[in-house]
């Protein structure tokens, strides 16, 4: 029996040596190791062996099985590896083709600027106040110390609807509305973003519709130095730590003293360039201490509180910030223009 087993091992190993393919390997496994296979066949004759012989032959049988199994396993693993390699080869793709795009749209550049400014001031403790775009003459002009026939009304030609109702020419009426709503209480710290309208022929730098952001702070002891401090803080958050401000005396009917504010040119850092016309400064803001008459109109006693206000044009800041050359792009909404703002 032992000889038969040894012969079987030799035969099996011989045949496995020449195996070609997975199918044949499976067939050989069945042929030699299967329930009705050759090995089982031989071992079935163990019944006729003596008690001494039985364990010896059993061991030989196991050895033969193990030897055949080991070779089959080996072959099997080789086939598996080959198969995997083939699959990976097949699955190879062109990784330079573009990926599946995530959708990306843009917040309108004007609102991008507004949101940035809002965030800065909200962080400084301001609320965002809003008001109607169609206003009364009272809120838009009279309450802001601009009585009818005031020469300063020449500064802004307005879109009137009736004699008393017009498109607001500035966001300042929101200041009056807010003050009135406060019923004389302070402090007030607000910024007012919004659309405004002035009769102006459209060109690269003028639009009859544009956006402003104004700020107002009312309190028992608000000083002009606080205004300077606030504006400096704002421009450094908006334009970077190196930004400085310069105030020049000016005139607005609703503030006294009044100032125009220049900020260090963001393009050249103040050395002088084309954008700042070689001055190193860009004019971006108007501001001042709120005129006592305006405080009175807002329901405050100018002997009890003082206030400062400031205002800026959103378009101007966006033009400067993004280097845009034509203000009309903001309102024609060419997608090739807007798409450029679809990023952080």
């Amino acid at each position: 029996m032992k000889e038969r087993l040894e012969a079987l091992r030799a035969e099996a190993l011989q045949e496995l040596q020449q195996v070609a393919g997975q199918q044949q390997l499976n067939d050989l496994r069945v042929k030699y190791l299967g329930k009705k296979g050759a090995l089982t066949e031989i071992l079935r004759g163990m019944g006729g062996l003596s008690a001494e012989e039985r364990p010896i032959i059993g061991q030989v049988g196991n050895e033969v099985r193990a030897a055949i199994e080991s070779v089959i396993e080996e072959k099997q693993e080789a086939y598996r590896q080959e198969e995997t390699a083939a699959r990976l080869r097949e699955e190879t793709i062109d990784v330079t083709l573009p990926g599946q795009a995530l959708p990306a749209g843009a917040v309108h550049p004007l609102n991008k600027v507004v949101q940035e400014i809002e965030d800065i001031f909200v962080g400084l403790g301001y609320s965002v106040a809003e008001g109607p775009e169609v206003e009364t003459d009272f809120f838009n002009f009279e309450a802001l110390n601009l009585p009818k026939n005031h020469p300063a009304r020449d500064m802004q030609d307005s879109f009137y609807i009736t004699e008393d109702i017009l498109m607001r020419t500035q966001t300042s009426p929101v200041q009056i509305r807010t003050m009135k709503a406060m019923n004389g209480k302070s402090p007030v710290k607000i910024i007012c973003p919004g659309k405004v309208y002035r009769r102006d022929d459209d060109d690269a730098t003028h639009s009859f519709q544009f956006n402003q952001i104004e700020g107002l702070v009312v309190g028992p002891n608000i000083r002009m130095s606080d205004l300077k401090g606030t504006l400096l803080q704002f421009v450094q958050l908006m334009f970077g730590k190196q930004a400085q401000i310069r105030l020049r005396p000016s005139f607005f009917p609703f503030t006294e003293p009044s100032a125009e504010v220049d900020v260090t040119c963001s393009q050249c850092g103040g050395h002088g360039c084309r954008m700042c016309k070689q001055t190193g400064w860009l004019e971006i803001l108007g501001c001042g201490m709120v005129h006592p008459r305006v405080l009175e109109m807002g329901g405050y006693d100018p002997n009890e509180v003082s206030a400062f206000a400031f205002g800026m044009g959103v378009e101007r800041i966006a033009l400067l910030k993004y280097g845009i050359d034509d203000i009309r792009h903001f309102y024609t909404n060419d997608q090739r223009f807007l798409n450029q703002f679809a990023r952080m």
């Binding site: 083709l97 573009p98 599946q100 990306a104 749209g105 843009a106 917040v107 309108h108 004007l110 001031f121 400084l124 403790g125 609320s127 775009e133 169609v134 206003e135 009364t136 020469p151 500064m155 879109f159 009137y160 609807i161 009736t162 109702i165 498109m167 402090p187 710290k189 659309k195 309208y197 009769r199 009859f208 309190g219 002891n221 000083r223 002009m224 130095s225 606080d226 300077k228 401090g229 606030t230 105030l247 020049r248 005396p249 000016s250 005139f251 006294e256 003293p257 009044s258 100032a259 201490m289 006592p292 903001f330 309102y331 024609t332 909404n333 060419d334 997608q335 807007l338 798409n339 679809a342």
Partner: protein, 813 residues
Amino acid sequence: MKVSYQWLNQYIEVTDMTASQIAERMTSGGIEIDVVESLNKGVSGVVVGYVVSKEKHPDADKLNVCQIDAGTGETLQIVCGARNVDAGQKVPVALVGAKLPGDLHIKRAKLRGVESQGMICSAKELGLQEKLLPKEQQEGILVLPADTPIGQPIGITLGIDDEVLELDLTPNRSDCLSMLGAAYEVAALTGREVKLPDTSVMHSSDQASSHLSVTIEAKDQCSHYSARYIRGVKIAPSPLWMQNRLMAAGVRPINNVVDITNYVMLEYGQPLHAFDASKLEGGRIVVRNAQPGEMLTTLDDQERKLEPQMLVIADAVKPVALAGVMGGANSEVTEDTTDIVLESARFDGSTVRRTSRQLGLRSESSARFEKEVDPGRVIAALNRAASLLEKHADGHVTEGIVEAVVSRPEPAVVQVSLPKINQYLGTDLSKLEVEAIFVRLGFEGSIDDNGVFTITVPTRRGDITRDVDLIEEVARLYGYDNIPTTPIEGSTTPGALTKAQAIRRELRKKLTNSGLNEVISYSFTGPERAQLFPALTSNSRPIRLAMPMSEERSVLRTSLLPQLLEMASYNRNRKNYDLAVFELGSVFHTEEETLTALPNEKHRFGLLFTGNAVQASWNQKAQAYDFYHAKGVIEAMIQSLGIDHLVRYEAAQPEGFHPGRTAAIKLHTEAGWVAIGYVGQLHPELQQKSDLADTFVAELDLAPLYEYADFAIVYKPLPRFPAMERDIAVVVDAGVEAGRLTETARETAGELLESIRVFDVYTGEKLGADKKSVALSLVYRHRERTLTDEEITELHGAVVVKIEQTFGAELRK
């Protein structure tokens, strides 16, 4: 206001400063200088020459050969083509080597064989502005006065070695519309003295009052009228220096009388007028309102129809001037004039402003009166002009001033305390520092023991009426740069966005992250556009601007969609075919025909899709936008606001939309289901008119969303028991809406139905015409236990039956 540097030096000594330095100082003091312009446009080597002789050119009819004495020690031969050149004249001579504007170099030359050692110049060739030249100088060579010194550099003769500061004045600083005003400002900024001009006249025994009387009838519109009567004037060109200064200020010289009135106006800011006394009837000046139907031809030869509220200067019979605006041709000073009435008055600013606007007639005079002139200078300016007329027009100034005075404003007295100044500015100024500033301004005053300044403000500074005005003067002279920067003191405030603001922010973020671009369109539109979508305009009448810039932008938008369509067409014309955009903005509604109250401004959300949602690519086909893209955006918005359970969509046919592809967006409010907007396809006709591809739009009111939005996220425990899924497919009439099927299923199944989903909609011949199959997947779950098979079968069976009964549906096997 144009301020000549040389002229300014007549009133304040500033020779140690350059024009640019003065400009810089004034700008930092609050008066912006736009430009500092050099009057010399590139002239050098030009001197005054004397034409010794003139002979015809031997070979050229139009040329003359002149012998010139230009003070060079030799006689120069110059060929000149000007017709007006003549022996005995003084003329500007460009010597060999001279330069003229336009980079012109003068060289020795031969003209038709005759040598020419230079060139005789015209005013234009010297760079003088043509429109400012007196008529006689606009053609030919410039002939200079006979007493001009030979050899004098022409820059001195013509006053062009000078620079002009152009003041960009804010409306409060009309005091600087004069040389003296500018001088006072520079004095304040640099701590110098102002020298006033000579106003003296000789005594006369001839009394002005025997020639003239003055009456003010319109006492509200004229507070002071003064006049002098001047006899025997000789009309002639004014002295060259005066002409030079007028031209530097942008005023064209005319003759000595007119020039003097203009000169004094520029000096004092007080407009003056000279009448030919012989043309005034009755020896009277009356300041009155125009009478109905009165006409007046003004000096610009325009006949003007006068309105009753306009103010005129009249003689005993007729109007002779539009007060403060322009004189009348009927009393104009001409070459024959000998006696004049010189007027200096104070007219009401708003009257002048109104008249000037109504007639579309602006003048140097009206520009000054509009902003109110200094009451303190009415007489000084009158006397100054009289004095100049005496010197430069041989005038005999009769004795005395004829005047009528309604009121003569006193200088304002304003108080401000030192502590208030320092508290207001955040400074720590001493009493001495502040006092020094007031002294520099030329303000007189005193300070008491409590630190209160009592300041008498000169009438020239009519803009200063209260304490803060004085504080501003202190601040700007102290220097805004010197004011410290401080943090705000006192209680802090929390900053935050309101709910509505936060919602708009979040929508903007969500939609842009989903690939939509935000747009901002114009609030003005055309009347037809405003009516395109009546369902979105709540029957509002478009609100019309009183003076629109164009018909296309003449009314306020009543809906966002017309603006989005305009934007889409604009983009399509630029080959941007694929659009996914939204806008957050206001529309304006009213029921009134003429506004008496502010309109209802509604915050709206607008949406537009057109073209492809997916571009054709190497791995996918192009996919066009359809209704469900637009609806999907609305659903996503509604869901993110936490109110999807309050919203339903119903088929609707609003005007402007595709009647078969539009839904009303309805919100469940206390008042029931209310349409807050529409989502749908643009009506094909409108689409064609706008030249667009298939376009899908939505617009809805934001106010209800602000109100109902629910930001509270409440966690629900994850389910512990398994769910059971059942699918059904039913055949129904094509008109049955899937939404109604799911609604019915929900109602029938109650809370055990966890979710329901439409996973297939099929139409085909097999089903028959007007039929469709809708496949639904229902998920049932009990939160507390496992549902039994029997329970599900019973419940699901009920759902099926209900659907069959309600919609005549047939279960598909």
